[in-house]
Amino acid sequence: MNNARAAGAPPQRTIDIVNASLKRRYAKERRFRLLGLGAVVLGLLFVALLFADIVGKGYTAFQQTYIQLPVTFDASVIDPEGALDPETLRRANYAALIRKAQREVFPEVTARRDTRALGSMISVGASSHLRDMVLADPDLIGTTKEVWLLADDDIDMLVKGHIDRTLPESERRVKDQTLGWVERLESEGRIEKRFNTIFFTHGTSREPELAGIAGALMGSFYTLALTLLFSFPIGVGAALYLEEFAPKNRWTDLIEVNINNLAAVPSIVFGLLGLAVFIGIFGVPRSTPLIAALVLSLMTLPTIIIASRAALKSVPPSIREAALGVGASPLQTQLHHVLPLAMPGMLTGTIIGMAQALGETAPLLMIGMIAFIVDIPSGFTSPSTVLPVQIFLWADSPERAFVERTSAAIMVLLAFLILMNLTAVLLRRRFERRW
């Protein structure tokens, strides 16, 4: 009887208890739901914060400050013999021309220390710009021309507002004297911000205003091209074998487990492998797209294999049966019928793998990609660096101007990654087939 009272209690009682506690339960429900919403919002906030931070820091790098000076292409400095010998023209002291032009704009600056401060406003790269002008057009010699010259990075930062002009002098990188000159130049319209072509056409440099990502971009390009060349055929081939031909035995089980685990091995371990095996044993040259591609191929291979197998799996067996039924050999069946149908899925996986490879940094540090290389690489075995490593190197540089360049380089890198991922998404949408 006791039992009956507890379990078979009057129905009224249950519903009353339920109704009494409902308010509390719904409050809990709301809290939980809010917690979930909060987590999503927080996650989205992080995305926004990350991008806002990078773009906010980096967008100014796409412009560069130039200072206009009336440069007299003095024949006695450039070409004292008047022979127009290109070698002489190349070796002339163009920095002297800039100093002279500055003296003209600031005649009152005479003290040795002050003229040096004045000279440091112009980038060391400006003289090579003058040299190029003269080499391109020797008729300039003897004339005076208003020339826009590349400003030093400190001036650039000041003009862009990254250095606070209201700070006391002792805490400011640009001293009062220079600040005065800059303000005078600004009021005379001799300071201008222009699109930063150097950033896209130069290799790296110790001088922020002369540093560009062209070298790193080319390095990344060569590396990715080789990585694709290595990993795509191998990945597709391996997937084809494992999915379609391999007998189900211990060996293929081992390969399968192995591939899944390789996909989760920390990337830095692949760097160790590259260092010990490719460099240590096979003598592949360091700091080249070749060694980088070898390491990255091994790294992206699991991604490609897993994606390719999934693509093969989604091709219905009826296609295989149809091909086999008309007398095609198993390999012909695969190559003529299954592979073309699975190709979009495989390409999608490959693009995602390539995007991973493009953004990868850690293993490349071990195999010498962090060497300081100014020249733009010209091939698979010429010393080079890649974009993410360049970002790492710049991020480590103390100059304020490198912060904005690093962010800008990140923006370029992210743009490429977004492009690749969008391609993958579009490819998937375009060719997605439901059987």
Binding site: G43, L50, L242, I255, V269, G359, A362, L417
Partner: protein, 463 residues
Amino acid sequence: MNPSTLLIVLLGLMAFAYHFGRKRAISAAGGVARLNTLHSLPAYYGLYAALWAGIPALLLMGLWVGFQNEILITIVKSELPPEILDGMSSGQIGLIVNDIKNLASGTIVSGVVTPEMQAAADRYTQLDQIARWAMWLAVLAVAVAGMGYAWAKTKPTMRARNRVETIFMVILVIFSSIAILTTLGIILSVLFESLLFFKSVSPLEFFFGTLWSPQTALRADQVGASGAFGAVPLFTGTLMVSAIAMLVAVPIGLMSAIYLSEYAPRRVRSYAKPTLEVLAGVPTVVYGFFAALTVAPVIRELGISLGLDVASESALAAGLVMGIMIIPFVSSLSEDVINAVPQAMRDGSYALGATQSETIRRVIIPAALPGIVGGILLAVSRAIGETMIVVMAAGLAANLTANPLDSVTTVTVQIVTLLTGDQEFDSPKTMAAFALGLTLFVVTLTLNVIALQIVRKYREQYE
């Protein structure tokens, strides 16, 4: 005369072989009209010839390029006057070999150039030239021989298709074995160097020592010269950063997975999910930059305003940003396992009058728990192995501390530091990096195996 030119020539030869193999088959059959007497399509005879021309030659070339350097160095070393190498450590010999190679290629040399070394360098250059020519000759000879063999074999009765397919299958098997070879390569390379390392430093000191200062002396009388390889501060540092990361990633990742899969309207979900996954596609170097230049200063300012002493490279900053990186990892894995919980479970709970959150907390999460735990283990393994964020935002000082506001260093940071910059192979410093690499590999591998096993078991349960 470089290998890539040879490669192109070889490819040309293969194309040539294909063309003539095909022609040969057609003529052997007695013309186009009698093609049906051939066992296979003519193209297969072409492929057969091309493969015979290409594969042996390519193999030879690969071996040659791989080992030429080693062999030349051995020859040059053996011809050096013995008194030069007398009493030198293997590291010093390595430096000399490097100098000789640099001399030969015309780059700057670290030491003084002695006549013996110049002679050795000249010898190296000479041998290198000979070897290159020899490679061209040998490779082309093998290619032509292969082609000739295929030519002789081409008869209408030859089962060309089957042979080509067999070769293809062998290639596929080799391709799929590369994954195994990679793992083997990783194990052997880290194991070999680690064993060398453990010869000079006892494993006991490495795994239980609390002092890490890998700078070995250049001169014996240097202050603080003796290198210490106690890796405990590295392990604790790694654990702390990973723990902070998981504290950020697990609640946010799990709750957003729950919200997105159970609560969010379809439209919200279709935008929020890919946006969150953007976090997974951002390169780690970008997170490192974000951590070092944005988050770390903010945390430092915040700490100072609260009167706390915060290191400029605090574990907190690195861990926080690493956590952000791992959010989408946790959330997509959790979403997968939550979606795998059968609808019948939900129905059963709703039918008893449970609210949605009660159903989620008391039925779905317990049901999905093994899968979620597996996912979290994978995330931990990823946090432990993450390199760039800690290299850029955590410090180098091996502090044994439990204070997240202090600077700590991690295993990956030390690997990178030890292996970048000026290094010589076989010094305890570099070998220590490999020992750390071995530890890292073993730990992450164990975590992965366990996690994948759990996830797999879980999937099977609901299939």
